[in-house]
């Protein structure tokens, strides 16, 4: 049951992800953004299968619900005629496939064969609920976590600075 669900979500993630960059039917950026939403939702499905419920919920809440709404918002306000007229860049698609294939190669043939695919290592050791995640974030990784939040703050301040018309 779980295996079937994994294959469904993995396939959905890959197919939708592919359609984001290379959609033969439509060159509309809004369509690409919508497929990105689907990609993210299927990835949330994968997180659920790994018992990481908190990550799954936050994935949908933050990426699908907020970040991509802003994407769509901005894309809609642009002039899309130019973008839609553009042909698919064969060169770009080829390079993209090549790079994904090489990453796939490295993962499968180097990591797994050298380390030996250890079945036991895949078993989840932590229930991915909020409490254990909070414990890890605020005890083991407190400094990186705080540094990251500072980085976000810098980003916010920068955005405000850039959007100000005249600085005083």
């Amino acid at each position: 049951m779980q295996d079937i669900a994994f294959y469904i979500f993995a396939a959905l993630t890959l197919i939708c992800g592919f359609l984001v960059v290379f959609n033969p039917l439509s060159r509309n950026p809004v369509t690409s953004a919508m497929f990105l939403v689907l990609t993210i939702i299927s990835m949330a499905g994968l997180f659920v299968l790994l018992n990481a419920f908190f990550l799954a919920a936050v994935q949908i809440l933050v990426y699908a619900g907020a970040v991509l709404v802003v994407f769509v918002f901005v894309i809609m306000l642009l002039d899309l005629k130019e973008e839609e007229r553009r042909k698919v860049n064969i060169m770009g698609v080829g390079l993209g496939i090549l790079s994904v294939a090489s990453i796939f190669y490295i993962l499968v043939f180097r990591v797994f064969t050298k380390a030996g695919l250890n079945e036991k290592a895949v078993v989840a050791t932590v229930e991915g609920d909020t409490k254990s995640l909070g414990m890890i974030l605020f005890k083991n990784y407190l400094l990186p976590f705080e540094v990251l939040s500072l980085l976000l703050l810098v980003g916010v301040v920068g955005a405000i600075l850039l959007s100000k018309k005249d600085l005083k």
Binding site: M1, G65, A66, V69, F73, D129, T130
Partner: protein
């Protein structure tokens, strides 16, 4: 994943759906009746006794009217948008505990341990229906409606999400069943977190696009906003989506702040068997929910619409800092008490 679990889950899904659909229909009816009373009119009173069959007539009318698709729309999104507007409203009901137990079955479809985060995640997807409707219609007013709604819903999601944090700091769990358990032991959370409740209530008006925050529709400036180009059943889906959203927002408020299916002050009446307690608890939950629905409707006919800049100002410069302060205050209080 056994057969019994699947069977009872399916039963609960069908049960909730069968309960919510007529509730939507009669909320529309209630909206029309209450607005009529407020404005000293009679309201719909022709179909059936006291006009009680009006929802049926409305439904038939929606189904039989011509489903007109304007030539200039983007077809795929035009068809997709009403469905996307409707679905999230129903998905949020999956985690709401609407009763105690009947037999051995807990009266909640999915007892998730991240219940509230799931709800916020799904609610945040609801904006796509409206945004896509505005985009698909490919004309000025719907587009403006869609843009407004996306900005409005993102803004108020933040305030809403921050507002409930104190509730979960008090309870110590994200599971909604645990929230109700806490309330049955300690009393309603609205008493402990009144500011959270106020912010949540106002934000839920903005999230469901109801007056005084119905900027995406605002008929006096945008014709009908995002659903201007829609007719027949597609329009009905948007309409029902709005009421379904109101129902799930009411259910959330009852669960988070008003004790869910528990009775506060009265000791429970002695009933002959456990089944009747189960039914009583569901009844209590629905009664509390209906009270909030009436509040939603009542406020719509009492207050004028905000201006758009006022709406943004309220969301970002009043509610957001206030909600943050609220979180801080509860954190300090809990820290001092511990």
């Amino acid at each position: 994943m056994n057969l019994e679990f699947l069977l009872f889950s399916a039963l609960k899904v069908v049960g909730v759906f069968a309960l919510v659909m007529p509730m939507i229909a009669y909320s529309v009816m209630a909206e029309r009746k209450i607005s009529a009373w407020i404005q000293d009119r009679v309201g719909p009173n022709r179909v059936g006794p006291q006009g009680m069959l009006q929802p049926l007539a409305d439904g038939i009318k929606f189904l039989l009217k011509e489903d007109f698709t304007p030539a200039h729309v983007r077809k795929a999104y035009f068809w997709l948008a009403p469905a996307i507007a409707m679905v999230p409203a129903f998905l949020t009901m999956a985690v709401i505990p609407f009763g105690s137990t009947i037999g051995h079955q807990k009266m909640v479809i999915a007892d998730l341990n991240v219940g509230i985060l799931y709800t916020f995640g799904i609610v945040s997807l609801g904006v796509y229906g409206i945004v896509l409707a505005g985009y698909a219609s490919n004309s000025k007013y719907p587009f403006l409606g869609g843009i407004r709604s996306s900005a409005q819903m993102i803004s108020y999601e933040l305030a809403m999400g921050l507002a409930v944090i104190p509730v979960f700091m008090l309870v110590g769990d994200l599971n909604l069943s645990k929230v109700i358990e806490y309330q049955s032991n300690h009393g309603w959370l609205v008493l402990y977190a009144p500011f959270s409740f106020v912010i949540f209530l106002v934000s839920s008006f903005a999230e469901t696009n109801r007056l005084p925050f119905d900027m995406p529709e605002s008929e006096s400036e945008l014709v009908a906003g995002y659903h201007t180009e829609y007719s027949s059943m597609k329009f009905a889906l948007f309409f029902m989506g709005e009421y379904a959203n109101m129902i799930s927002a009411s259910a959330m408020m009852v669960t988070l702040f008003f004790g869910g299916w528990t009775l506060p002050w009265f000791s429970e009446p002695a009933l002959s068997n456990a089944w009747m307690y189960g039914a009583l608890h569901i009844g209590v939950f629905i009664a509390k929910m209906l009270a909030f629905m009436v509040l939603f409707i009542w406020i719509r006919w009492m207050l004028p619409r905000f201006r758009y800049d006022q709406l943004m100002d309220l969301g970002w410069r009043r509610f957001l800092p206030f909600a943050l302060l609220n979180v801080l205050a509860y954190a300090v209080w809990l820290w001092v008490r511990a």
